[in-house]
């Protein structure tokens, strides 16, 4: 089967620093892959490259066979690649409802409607309410996001991801700053996305417990390059990884 996402010699340099250095990876449809590595290994830059936030210095990115290297972020999203950010990244003064509604509108290509009142698009409204139900925030739909707890804000983030109905989802530290209970919830949720909705997921995560419990595959990055790539048990056994990353 052809890989859903493919990077070919992908490179990004900031001056002399090679943040991502000739990285070639294939991601299969339906797979849940984690990318790990010490700080500065290039994980976030890789995400930025895939999602179009930064432009590659060299190399190519292909999604379902199409070259997306030079596309703008919004075009990449429209192709079906969604992203959830490391730091909660919502619209703080908009309500929960509105935060979820914007991506629904975007996916349904209704955002350029100039004169229709926002209450009038029935299918958009139903879809938004359905997603709010899924993330369990129907009760709080009229509250602005900056008034939510951290955990609820992460939930809204996931709601946004659902609203986009991505084929591939980039998750940047989804459990960052969460307590153990919230983390378990999140793990369950991510696994649900992967298994029930068949969304391909790439994950950057520091919590090794999470990584090893949910990943189909783990990629280890170090200094901009890939040093290991395999199933969780293979990675656990890999000496180089222990040396470079696990440090024991």
């Amino acid at each position: 089967m052809e890989p859903i996402l493919q990077t070919q010699n992908l490179t990004k340099s900031f001056g002399h620093l090679m943040a991502v250095n000739r990285v070639s990876l294939d991601f299969k449809e339906g797979e849940l892959t984690s990318i790990i590595g010490p700080n500065g290994a290039g994980k976030t830059t890789l995400f930025n490259l895939i999602s179009g936030k930064t432009k590659a210095s060299a190399g190519k990115i292909r999604f379902k066979g199409d070259d997306i290297t030079k596309l703008a972020p919004y075009e990449i999203v429209r192709k079906g690649i969604g992203r959830i950010f490391q730091i909660t990244n919502l619209f703080p003064e908009l309500t929960v409802y509105e935060n979820v509604r914007v991506p629904v509108l975007a996916r349904k290509r209704e955002t350029s409607r100039l004169l229709s009142l926002d209450r009038s698009l029935r299918d958009v409204n139903e879809e938004t309410s359905r997603i709010l139900g899924l993330i369990g925030l129907s009760e709080k739909s009229d509250i602005t996001c900056n008034a939510l707890s951290h955990g609820d804000q992460r939930l809204v983030e996931t709601g946004v991801a659902l609203a986009l109905e991505p084929v591939l989802l980039l998750l940047d530290e989804p459990t960052g700053g969460m307590g153990p209970e919230e983390t378990d919830e999140m793990v369950k949720f991510v696994r649900g996305l992967n298994e029930n909705r068949n969304i391909t997921i790439i994950l950057v995560e520091h919590d090794m417990r999470v990584v090893f419990s949910i990943s189909d595959r783990i990629i280890v990055m170090h200094s901009g390059g890939v040093i290991a790539d395999g199933k969780p048990d293979e990675i656990q056994a890999d000496e180089r990884v222990k040396e470079a990353y696990l440090g024991r």
Partner: protein
């Protein structure tokens, strides 16, 4: 619960708008000519401020060059009326189309920048428009501007309406501003308006929702500039003479203050701010030549005590009340 509240609110709003409209229609019957003239100018500035705020309060872009579109609307209309044909409708169209084009050209470059750099680039373009209006004297009359712009009759089918009288022009302004404000209000409540608000909140994130952020910014810029052009188009026959001063950056600063005074995040905030700003300026300057001291003190006090603007403050209170119940 949700529904019943929105119906009540909706009803209240309907009555409120109807009442305000009725009051506005009756203005010439109860107020002196001066106040009618003043109200006409106020309406024009309300439209100026509201359309400016579509970009500022909704999209989060502080433009310091909106006098450009205002003055292009005014010059386009004024030139057409005094040089080509005394047809008000065509003249308005010309003014509006020109401000649309100019807003598009300028906006194309500006929407790439953020924050203060955006503000400074709009200032730069605004002042270039100012320089052109000033220096292209064969067309614009140079520093003297256009003198003696006629206020022609307005003919629809068989009816002819006289606009040269003070109440006549007031009603014309009221109708045009009313229509524009309604359109702007619909835009602000539309999916497009919601996208603008989300751009204001977090313009980088919007891109990652699959939205071509700059196009929406440009859209907001052009709509905002065009409606400023409508305000300008109304202004030219209102003033009878227009000079390049109306494109100077101090004119661009006016809607900024008006919006901030009234509250940028509430649709009608800038309207309240515009009325208050003009009223204060007119009233204080009637009492003392030192009106700037008062205006300055009011501005400072606002920033320190009421940063949300007047309507912002009131709606905060209302929301707090609602949340409390």
């Amino acid at each position: 619960m949700e529904k019943s509240r929105s119906i009540i609110w909706g009803k209240n709003r309907f009555y409120g708008v109807a009442l305000a409209l009725l009051a506005l229609v009756l203005v010439p019957f109860f107020l002196s000519d001066f106040l009618v003239v003043f109200a006409t100018e106020m309406l024009i500035m309300v439209l100026f401020a509201l359309s400016f705020n579509l970009l500022f309060g909704y999209t989060g872009l502080l433009s310091f060059g909106h006098a450009a579109y205002f003055s292009i609307g005014a010059y386009g209309t004024g030139l057409f009326l005094s040089r080509v044909s005394p047809s008000l409708l065509l003249a308005f169209l010309i003014g509006i189309v020109f401000s649309f084009i100019v807003a598009f050209l300028i906006g194309y470059f500006c929407v790439r920048l953020d924050e203060i750099y955006f503000a400074m680039l709009t200032l730069a373009f605004g002042m270039m428009v100012h320089a052109i209006l000033w220096k292209w004297d064969s067309l614009t009359g140079g520093a003297d501007g256009l003198v003696g712009i006629p206020r022609p009759k307005f003919s629809i089918l068989l009816a002819t309406i006289e606009f040269s009288s003070i109440p006549g022009y007031y009603y014309l302004t009221l109708v045009v501003v009313g229509i524009c404000v309604f359109i702007l209000w619909r835009v602000s409540r539309s999916p497009f308006g919601l996208v603008l608000k989300s751009i204001r909140e977090n313009h980088e994130r919007v891109e990652f929702l699959g939205i071509a952020m700059r196009r929406y910014r440009l859209g907001a810029f052009v709509i905002s500039g065009t409606f400023c052009g409508v305000a300008g188009a109304l202004f030219a026959p209102f003033e009878r003479s227009i000079a390049p001063d109306i494109s100077f950056w101090t004119k661009s600063a006016e809607p900024v203050f008006m919006s901030l005074l009234g509250g940028t995040k509430v649709f009608f905030g800038p309207a309240v701010g515009a009325s208050l700003f003009m009223y204060l300026r007119e009233i204080i300057s009637g009492y003392t030549e030192l009106w700037m001291i008062y205006l300055g003190a009011i501005l400072i006090a606002f920033v320190i005590f009421l940063p949300g603007g007047i309507l912002g403050f009131i709606s905060d209170k209302l929301n707090a009340g609602r949340r409390g119940t």
